[in-house]
Amino acid sequence: MSSLPHIHRRRFLAGTASLAAVVALSACGAKTDAAGSSDKAAKIDVSGDTVKVGLLNSLSGTMAISEVTVRNSLMLAVDEINASGGVLGKKIKPISEDGASDWPTFAEKATKLIKEDGVAATFGCWTSASRKAVKPVFEKNRSLLFYPVQYEGLEESPYIFYTGATTNQQIVPALDYLKSQGLKKLYLVGSDYVFPRTANKEIRAYAKANGMTILGEDYAPLGSTEFSTIANKVKASKADAVFNTLNGDSNVAFFKEYKSAGLTAKSMPVVSVSIAEEEVKSIGTQYLDGQLTAWNYYQTTPGAANEKFVKAYKAKYGQDKPTSDPMEAAYVSVYLWKAMVEKAKSFDPEKVKAASDGITFDAPEGKVTVDGASQHIYKTARIGKVGSDGLIEQVWDSGKPIKPDPYLKGYSWASGLS
């Protein structure tokens, strides 16, 4: 394979033969790929009495506010597991890396964790763009990533476990809820990146099949704080409700403009899919009072497992710190990995994957089960209403955990999406 420069030079010389050469080269590369596949798995460092895991989150940049809470939650789970004896008799040694809110950096750090540190699994990533950037890294090195954030679906990587909601566990139930409330004319507002654009595509398909109308669709660049035009357009549209897929600080500006345009939760409710307890605090309760959110977990979700989680989190990080859905999904992901490893009796990713189907855990959100085929988990959908105390109260739930369906194969209206 090291003869590449040679062939390169020849190609430059043999102008017309270049296409043929490329075809020949393609055949060669494919062969390498097939033959070399057995020995490319990452080496896991299990020397000594520890096993390393990677924590890959943005500790700097625009996403840091959100991702640091996920990191805290992951550390809590690691500490708890270590306090109770570790995994397969080994203590977990977390290796922390900063993705810096920059997708190529995520890919670089993922490679470092796998190749230099020899981690058994990695936990983290928030934005879809960062997940897309690291996906080939984990696939090429046959190493596992646990991704804890709700996302736009349409993905099933053999080396990623998705512990946040896919579309049919968050967005579809939210639309079902709006429909059941008679709110059928929607306005879509989102940040300009993959998740909102894909989510809105799915929402349009759903609306078309369910007699709902989309009155408008607007995007603002990530981090944008200029929303007076959008708020006025939303007001003029006389929609029944707004479906909000804005991410990060943009929400602060959007809800302020929304209020000053004279719109309220009563006159035109906003359903948000990226605003959790942490964000409510930073946006300000006065702007969000009565607005709707769609998640799988709230700090107020009843149950002993959640009481324990909330108490442990506040004890470790401060009484004023709320817990949120992505934090819970991150916390759960470490425990699910532990259960898979113990069932497989090995840290080998292939054996862990094989053991994953049917693994359950009494999570703060209720009992979750791993679906081995899609490597997503069964989750209960919950619609919540922001209260004046800044916490979110559940107003509706799906009753039971929903089977993950990342490609929306079970929905006829979604047939044209993928």
Binding site: L4, V22, T32, S60, W103, E108, L154, P221
Partner: protein, 364 residues
């Protein structure tokens, strides 16, 4: 005459030294992962070679090199994505986010490897030529030129993000499997990519050195230092600047193209304002007017970014800002000028001492 000879002998020795380090020492000493990182730094250094020419020599503060880096990177990545998908298939992200059933027309030429390879540097050069001829003829310069090039970088990144169905949006083009038929996950092929990058970098340095030492290079410095005077001498400064700008754009384009197989991703995050500034910081810290300074500065700053962000995640950004300010405020010539500055200080101090001694002697 003697001086010239020794200078070119020194340069030749430098080239040999650099080649030994890049082709023999680095692959022996570094792990596959670190060698991959070095390949990335070398791509940044290629951009710095262009910046040295345009900014260091020509005085054009190019704060928008990300655009050209991106054009080259996307040209390469588009070809590799089409090749990965195989004939008749759409690249994976188009199947996910797009509505089209066939390749958009502006993707189609990139299926041809020769076109794509040529486009990696000709496309940025053409864009630079078009822009440059407008900008320089209108005599836009200094801060206005910098702001303009930066606005261009921001606009290009925003446009790419908006076209999710055809450009991959914020995700960019990821998950690139092969490089002209060779599987990129094979460490041997990764190493070959590194060697190609190292060779291209040395080639670009040689080219830039040739330009700098030519009569054109002297004219470029003259335009930088006194544009009006050059105009009165009968030259058109706009053309002189244009050449430097276009060559720098071509170098940034090549760097972007080679970055893709080295790192496996090209995205708007590598193109916008922040990365464009980062390209300049390396050159500024090392010494923008000196080729060696700019290249080593770019490599050092990129390396420091990785090393520091592994140790102190949040501190890196502040450190980078500080570095830029300190370099520009206290050492405008960068680290490369440190020796000269120290020598001058010493000479000045010695002169002062002499001056101080004389009156004493007179008095005595």
């Amino acid at each position: 005459m003697n001086l010239l000879k020794s200078r070119s002998a020194r340069a030749a020795a430098g080239f040999v030294g650099a080649a030994v380090v890049l082709f023999a020492v680095a692959p022996l000493v570094l792990s596959d992962f670190r060698l991959g990182l070095l390949a990335k730094y070398l791509c940044v250094a290629m951009v710095a070679v262009g910046i040295c020419l345009a900014w260091g020599r020509g005085g054009l503060l190019t704060l928008g090199q990300g655009v050209f880096f991106g054009l080259g990177g996307y040209a390469m990545a588009m070809h590799l994505k089409i090749a990965d998908a195989g004939p008749g298939n759409l690249p994976d992200f188009m199947q996910l986010y797009g509505t089209a059933t066939e390749l958009p027309w502006w993707w189609q030429p990139f299926a041809n490897p020769v076109f794509a390879l040529a486009a990696t540097f000709l496309l940025p050069m053409a864009v630079a030529a078009l822009l440059g001829s407008f900008i320089f003829r209108r005599r836009v310069k200094g801060a206005y030129f910098a702001i303009l090039s930066q606005a261009l970088a921001a606009a290009f990144a925003i446009w790419l993000i908006g076209q999710q169905a055809t450009t991959g949006g914020t995700n960019g083009l990821t998950d690139i499997q092969g490089f002209f038929g060779y599987a990129l996950d094979d460490p041997v092929n990764q190493r070959t990519v590194y060697f190609i990058i190292a060779a291209v970098l040395l080639l670009l340095i040689a080219l830039a050195r040739q330009l700098i030492q030519s009569r054109y290079g002297e004219l470029l410095v003259a335009v930088r230092d006194s544009e009006e005077r050059v105009r009165f001498l009968g030259y058109d400064p706009a053309n002189v600047k244009l050449v430097a700008y276009v060559v720098a754009a071509g170098m940034a384009g090549l760097a972007g193209a080679l970055f893709v197989p080295a790192v496996g991703i090209i995205s708007p995050a590598l193109i916008g304002i922040v990365p464009s500034i980062e390209f300049v910081i390396g050159a500024a810290v090392g010494g923008r007017a000196s080729l060696v300074g700019a290249v080593l500065g770019a490599i050092a700053v990129a390396w420091a970014k990785t090393a520091l962000s592994e140790e102190f995640p949040a501190a890196w950004t502040y450190f980078q800002g500080l570095l830029f300010i300190v370099a520009l405020a206290f050492l405008p010539g960068g680290l490369a000028s440190l020796a000269t500055v120290v020598r001058r200080r010493r000479a000045a101090a010695a002169a002062e001492k002499k001056a101080a001694v004389i009156p004493v002697g007179e008095a005595a």
